[in-house]
């Protein structure tokens, strides 16, 4: 009431307030008025101190390594540090990943990967009847890839290497820029493929590198297009089998349109289920995409086959897509995807998903709207959308809590214990995440893993998380640099433990179970 009286008695403030509202309050934070009313809206909000530092490092990276924490602390400007991370992540995304040498084959050229898969098929066909393949041996070799893999286990080895790369990326700042590691997980999950679906297996790592990582902070439409043309996605959602049902197509008697990919492209990848499309639009989009299929011989693994493409005009959500001339049919699909990727429903959906991942299970609508506005204004520039989010007070508001998913917690444990190269620990982290229900890149359906607390924070799950924390951290050296970030109650309980048990309790504390 006192503030209100002040406003009324002081006309310039009213003018400033009105001006700020008009501009969406951007740039008004310096005025005393907006300081009192716009803690949520302001982009010049300057978070400081241990709470903000802890938040930044646990949300933008998988957790505090000693060197990164020291860097953040000496910077003393968490928001500036966060924006620097964003710049560094974008820069890194444009460069090749630093794969540990024994994992390099996940980044082989696509023709080589297709060859590997074919060799496995041939090797398996040559196995004498009744032979029981010793799958156990391959299991035991998990995360130890020094020897060249046998043709019989090529696909499985590729999957395991892809998982190992995720563990290397999330745990080591030398292997991967830490925010880019998180963004890669986010986009892989958003454009989810199931790495254990037969034909997808050898491509999962390549997909993570060349789709999720390469376009992580670029234009959203480029990300969708890259995913649409990658063999992993073409196989996963059966697009490669979807052909024109028109009569008179040679050799296609038992095949026809498959709507699987077209539907998920609208429902999950872009617009969202209430994004304004109908079943007719799904069918039209499927018709547009006929002829999009894999190519084992081409560098990008993709080809458009005009012979399999359905001719005729199509209309998607009121957008007319005229019939194409020979060899340009692929442009129909590209045009449709660019349209969907830049649709206002998509801007909302992508902004919401990013805010759910980085800010809160139920992020403030004002934040999502501001991100979506930027999305549309910049042609879907993910970097710019992220910048809005990191500059927004909602990102820094301690009321916006997040519970770590099992994958997140597994990676956090490797960072808190500072064991980026310890593959035995990787195996423990991987095993925990898997048993807890979030195997790395292991979700079967195209919706990807949920990352909210209502999915992951259950009583039994918490006890298994504590089991894991106490086990993986046993005898780990203490990290006194973390103590200033823990609550008094946590510190007291940790210090009661003998030194060789303390890191387990640090890891199991609410400061690390949540973020």
């Amino acid at each position: 009431m006192k503030q209100k009286t002040n406003f009324n008695g002081s006309k310039p403030w009213v003018l400033v307030l009105g001006f700020c509202l008009l501009l969406g309050l951007v740039g008004c934070a310096q005025s005393p008025v907006s300081k009192t009313i716009s803690a949520i809206e302001s982009s010049n909000f300057e978070p400081k101190g241990p709470v903000a530092e802890w938040r930044a490092i646990n949300r933008l990276t998988y957790g505090p390594t000693p060197s990164l924490l020291a860097e953040l602390k000496s910077n003393a400007q968490p928001k500036e540090w966060a924006l620097n991370q964003l710049d560094a992540a974008r820069k890194a995304s444009l460069e090749a990943p630093k794969l540990p040498s024994d994992l390099a084959s996940i980044n082989d050229s696509l023709p080589l990967i297709f060859d590997g898969a074919r060799s496995e098929r041939e090797a398996r066909a040559a196995v004498p009847a009744g032979t029981r393949l010793n799958e156990l041996v391959a299991n035991e070799r998990r995360f130890n890839f020094q020897e060249p893999s046998e043709a019989l286990f090529y696909n499985r080895t590729q999957v395991n290497k892809a998982i190992a790369w995720r563990l290397a990326s999330c745990s080591s700042d030398d292997v991967e820029q830490p925010l880019l590691a998180r963004m890669t997980e986010f986009w892989f999950n958003h454009f989810n493929v199931y790495q254990l679906k037969g034909s997808v297996r050898p491509f999962a790592g390549h997909y993570a590198i060349h789709v999720a990582r390469a376009h992580a902070l670029g234009k959203f439409e480029d990300l969708v297009l890259a995913s649409a043309k990658h063999p992993a996605m073409l196989y996963y959602l059966d697009q490669w089998l979807s052909v024109s049902p028109q009569p008179g197509r040679a050799g296609q008697s038992s095949r026809g349109l498959n709507e699987n990919y077209a539907r998920e492209l609208m429902e999950l990848h872009t617009l969202g289920v209430h994004g304004g499309y109908t079943q007719d639009d799904v069918r039209e989009l499927a018709r547009v995409l006929t002829g999009w299929t894999v190519s084992p011989r081409s560098e990008d693994g993709f080809q458009f086959v005009m012979r399999l493409h359905e001719s005729g005009n199509k209309t998607i959500m009121g957008q007319s897509i005229p019939s194409s001339a020979q060899f340009t049919g692929v442009k129909e699909g590209e045009q449709a995807i660019r349209f969907l990727a830049n649709h206002p429903s998509t801007a909302q959906r992508i902004s919401l998903r990013l805010a759910e991942y980085f800010v809160a299970d139920l992020p403030p609508q004002a934040l999502v709207d501001q991100m979506a506005k930027t999305f549309l204004a910049t042609g879907g520039d993910i970097y710019q959308v992220m910048k809005v989010m990191l500059s927004h007070a909602a990102f820094w508001d301690p009321e916006n809590k997040l519970y770590r998913t099992p994958y997140d917690f597994a990676c956090a444990s490797l960072r808190v214990l500072n064991v980026p190269q310890d593959r035995t620990k990787w195996l423990q982290a991987f095993g925990y995440s898997f048993v807890a229900g979030q195997g790395i890149q292991n979700w079967q359906t195209p919706d990807g893993y949920a990352f909210n607390a209502s999915t992951w924070f259950t009583p039994e799950a918490l006890t298994r998380r504590i089991d894991f924390a106490l086990t993986i951290a046993r005898n780990a050296p203490e990290r006194s640099d973390l103590y200033p970030y823990l609550s008094d109650a946590t510190t007291k309980a940790v210090m009661k433990q003998p030194p060789q048990q303390r890191m387990g309790f640090v890891l199991g504390s609410s400061e690390l179970v949540f973020k």
């Binding site: 398996r124 066909a125 196995v127 004498p128 009847a129 009744g130 032979t131 029981r132 156990l136 199931y194 679906k197 059966d238 038992s254 699987n260 539907r263 998920e264 429902e267 289920v273 898997f434 048993v435 807890a436 229900g437 079967q444 359906t445 195209p446 919706d447 924070f457 259950t458 009583p459 039994e460 799950a461 918490l462 006890t463 298994r464 504590i466 089991d467 106490l470 086990t471 609550s487 109650a489 946590t490 007291k492 309980a493 940790v494 009661k496 433990q497 309790f505 199991g508 504390s509 609410s510 179970v513």
Partner: protein, 420 residues
Amino acid sequence: MSMKAESMLSNRRQAIFQTLSMGAFALPAISAFADAPTSSGRMVLVFLRGAYDGLSMLVPHGDERYSQIRPNIGIPKPDGSSKTALALDATFGLHPACAPLLPLWQQGVLAAIPCAGSPDASRSHFDAQYHWETGKPGSSSPSSGWLNVLSGMVGNGHGHHALGVGESSPRILSGPRPVQLVGNGLSATRAGTLAESKTREAVLQLYAGNEKMANAMMEGASNRMSTAASLKAPSMASSNELQAANNGAGSPQGLSLDAKHLGTLMQQNRELRLGFLSSGGWDTHINQGNVTGLLANNLNNLANSLIQLRAAFNEPNDVVIVASEFGRTCAENGTRGTDHGHGNVMWLLGNRVQGGKWHGRWEGLAQNQLNEGRDLPVHHDFRGVFAQALVASLGLTKGSIANVFPGFQWDASLDGIFKA
């Protein structure tokens, strides 16, 4: 177990349930089911992931085409020996590795439905499993599992009514209602680090400032201790169990240990009305074998698991159902295996089951009778089979089936698979 011990156990369990119902996860039963279930049976689903080859388990030896299209992997016609199919009637026989099931067939408690499945044509394991588990063929939209939905319709709305053993969070049990999930193999018997009161106490102090976490931790620890205690009863220790466990989880061998755990837990907690088990290793594209071999071993393990389940679920209305996401091709492929097909054989086991016979349509293996000329057709929607069990075994009304399987219509051609 003496009466006294039994009642003590039940008191202890009641106490645990009271704790549970105070938690944030308890939901009231769906109020639409005013028509209270009248039958107190229990239903267990054994789901064979990867699409098992039903035509090796239920062998159509009466069809001349069977041996023609399966020259290497077919099971020979019954000759009375254990090297051939075990005759059930003039049409079908059992795989000899399933010999333990023959007495159940003869007693009239085991029945088969040869051509059941999902109306959706997908040959993708993951799509088809998703459809089976959500009860919504053709839809890949995010959805609760239908056993989770069903768990809100049986019992009084407090505590757990569904139990899954083996998988960490199977889709079929996922959703807003609390269900009991128990780890696979020997992990179920481990109470974890929090079983030690000293550790529990220390973690409680760690969460001193956070009541929600402290409560969740205590509740989880108490659940796990009670599960582990139930499973560590002396009768559980046997060399069989260890052998099964050593062979690893997710395998058909692991199934028999999980089945044993499920039986024990559901015997001890009668609030649990729904059980779920699964096993992998059925996707036999190459070298599946015939009378012996890979598939025969799997089938033998399955048969032994079913014998265990029969012992635990032998009350008048109990039923055990075996199913897979789809079937395999009728003909063998070029690598002495079978590829993804469509319809498949479902099995029902229980005292209410009109057993000793097979049910529903069977038109043989002539090419023009097959789906796309290659697979068993789906004459009976899987939801129709489950709907029959929901009514006969669990006592649901026909009208309430649509809450489990939205939009599904009752399949009257299956009336009679359960005794009235």
